[in-house]
Subunit: 355 residues, 2 copies
């Protein structure tokens, strides 16, 4: 029962507009630590899985760039016929990987997280894999550092037993709580962020999808047929499948879910603000992600400029100033969660040139 790493690279990261675009989504951005988020995720994946057991799930539009960036062979880049959220992406990967290794244990890793301590990460993933071999669906739980209202929370239950000393049962999941509730969770210490990192056997996740989200399982039938003619048929059924996160489709419903509380630093680099926090932007301390900051008296800004373009900030602080060449964002960092609304507005207006 070998451990495989399944990197999910399907997200758009609209909150990172205008640096992130449909054609250059968040995993391709070099925002922290000198390499792209995708590269860093691949490095983590290789710490837990042999080179032939690292997979990426992505859309057709990014497949070539991902093959080039990761050096993975074409067979390891699993191209979804359509984008249908994480439940479908994971089901798709589980079916495909099962063919090569029916006993596969899957570690599902989003391609856009930042986890500086790779060693601690790898050790915990191996502990989770042991639980997965015992049949559990394991979700990693991260200690909250702020009363975030955009995440799912895990209400952590009792230990599962001596065989898996750090694993805990899950009382329940709470999706995107109110601010006041999130603040209580932060103080209380019993709730963890559901980080979106999962470990389970391919067999177990497929059984649970079959049980709790039979529509998804049915949509993958053409894939199981393995016939040459099934590709168009798969695309059709895929597009009809519901778009659900794995949390909603399975994790909140399954009775086999355990959680592994982790202690390492984690960020999903969710918004310009959370990136600024990760990079240590503070009053009096700006950070330059790219470009040429020639003047900044205000400080406490996060700046993404263009090569050779002089950026000068006068009297401003707490701003994200993001110049992507064909689009420019100037936003208060503490409102950067609303960037997505700008992108969606542009899409509604048909401005695909800048989204």
């Amino acid at each position: 029962m070998s451990l495989h790493a399944v990197i999910l690279a399907g997200g758009a990261g609209e909150r990172f507009w205008p640096a992130s675009r449909a054609r250059r989504p968040k995993p391709f951005l070099r925002v922290v630590g000198g390499r792209t988020l995708l590269d860093a995720t691949c490095l983590r994946a290789r710490r837990i899985a042999g080179p032939s057991r690292v997979w990426v799930v992505c859309g057709r539009e990014h497949a070539q760039a991902i093959r080039r960036a990761t050096g993975l062979s074409a067979s390891r880049v699993l191209v979804e016929p359509a984008r249908r959220n994480t439940a479908m992406a994971i089901a798709f990967a589980a079916v495909r990987i099962s063919r090569a290794d029916p006993q596969a244990i899957l570690a599902v890793l989003p391609a856009d997280h930042h986890i500086p301590d790779t060693a601690a990460f790898a050790a915990d993933l191996r502990a989770a894999a042991r639980a997965a071999r015992a049949g559990a669906l394991v979700t990693l739980g991260v200690r909250p550092t702020r009363p975030e209202t955009g995440y799912g929370y895990i209400d952590v239950g009792v230990p599962v037993g001596r065989a898996h000393p750090r694993l805990r049962r899950v009382r329940r999941f709470v999706e995107k709580p109110e601010r006041r509730v999130a603040e209580r969770y932060l103080r209380g210490g019993r709730h963890l962020w559901n980080a979106g990192i999962f470990v389970f056997s391919a067999r177990a996740i497929l059984e649970e999808i079959e049980a709790h989200a039979p529509d998804l399982a049915a949509a993958l039938e053409p894939l199981r047929a393995r016939a040459r003619s099934s590709s168009a048929e798969l695309a059709r059924s895929y597009r009809r499948a519901p778009s659900l996160p794995i949390d909603v489709a399975v994790m909140e419903r399954s009775r086999r879910v355990w959680t592994l509380p982790v202690r390492w630093r984690w960020s999903d680099v969710w918004t310009w603000e959370s990136l600024a926090g990760e990079l240590g932007v503070a009053p009096g301390r700006s950070r330059l992600l790219a470009g040429d900051l020639v003047y900044d008296d205000g400080a406490g800004n996060l700046v993404w400029g263009l090569d050779g373009k002089a950026v000068a900030l006068l009297g401003v602080s707490g701003l994200a100033v993001i110049d992507a060449g064909d689009a420019l964002l100037v936003a208060r960092l503490d409102r950067s969660n609303e960037v997505r609304a700008i992108v969606q507005g542009l899409k509604e207006k048909g401005r695909l040139d800048v989204t």
Copy 2:
């Protein structure tokens, strides 16, 4: 004694960085009213002077662009051998124009002012010209609208007499007063801004330069010689001449100075903030000078974008956001007077690529 318009186009307008540059100074900017400041100045000039009596004084680096923009014949574009502030530019023009018309009356018009009411402007200039024909050096006085500390003020004296009912004597000039003094002037109503618009005969201004700034007059000797060989000699003496504004060199010293208080709206478009004021930027009301503002919830911003480049502002107000392609400024409007320091810092660092 015909009226000639002498447009001074020698200033750099560093406060308008990064839109203004050494190679594209402020008169070439299209910041208000749909045309460049230079074009608008030419239109005003043509209201007071016949087509063969409109002149521009500029540096060699802009002469060609100015000929192209204004359609003036080469002989009407007076190219200074070096930039030596307004006293030298005016003396140079006075000598050159005197050759063609020894009785010339000169209306000196900076190329970067904004005066929407051209008719009222022209009527006042003609009144000033009548005073100039009587031998006066006339400076136009603008009623202050804010306690500006960057301007010169005119302490207005008694009427000069019935022949020139609106003209007043000048008690004294006050250069760049302290804030508290400027506030007192604003309340008091006796002080006017020295707008930098002058009317005098070529003969009178040259006599007064000879009397009060003999170094300047001497520097122009090679020009009077009219010899073919004098061009290099003129350049040498020009560069050695002191760099003085006409106010300091002559107006504050001469006893022939009168002022004409004017009532029309005037702006020298001094900083991004004063331009914002001119354009009616206010809380809840942004203004787009160029480009494509796709989102602005904060409002009260002044935006200069690039053709086709999407600009989004989130949660910010009272900012100048100026994207010049190879340089970007994000500045609080109420600190835009400090933009010049950014440019000077860049020049000191040898960053001529972006200044």
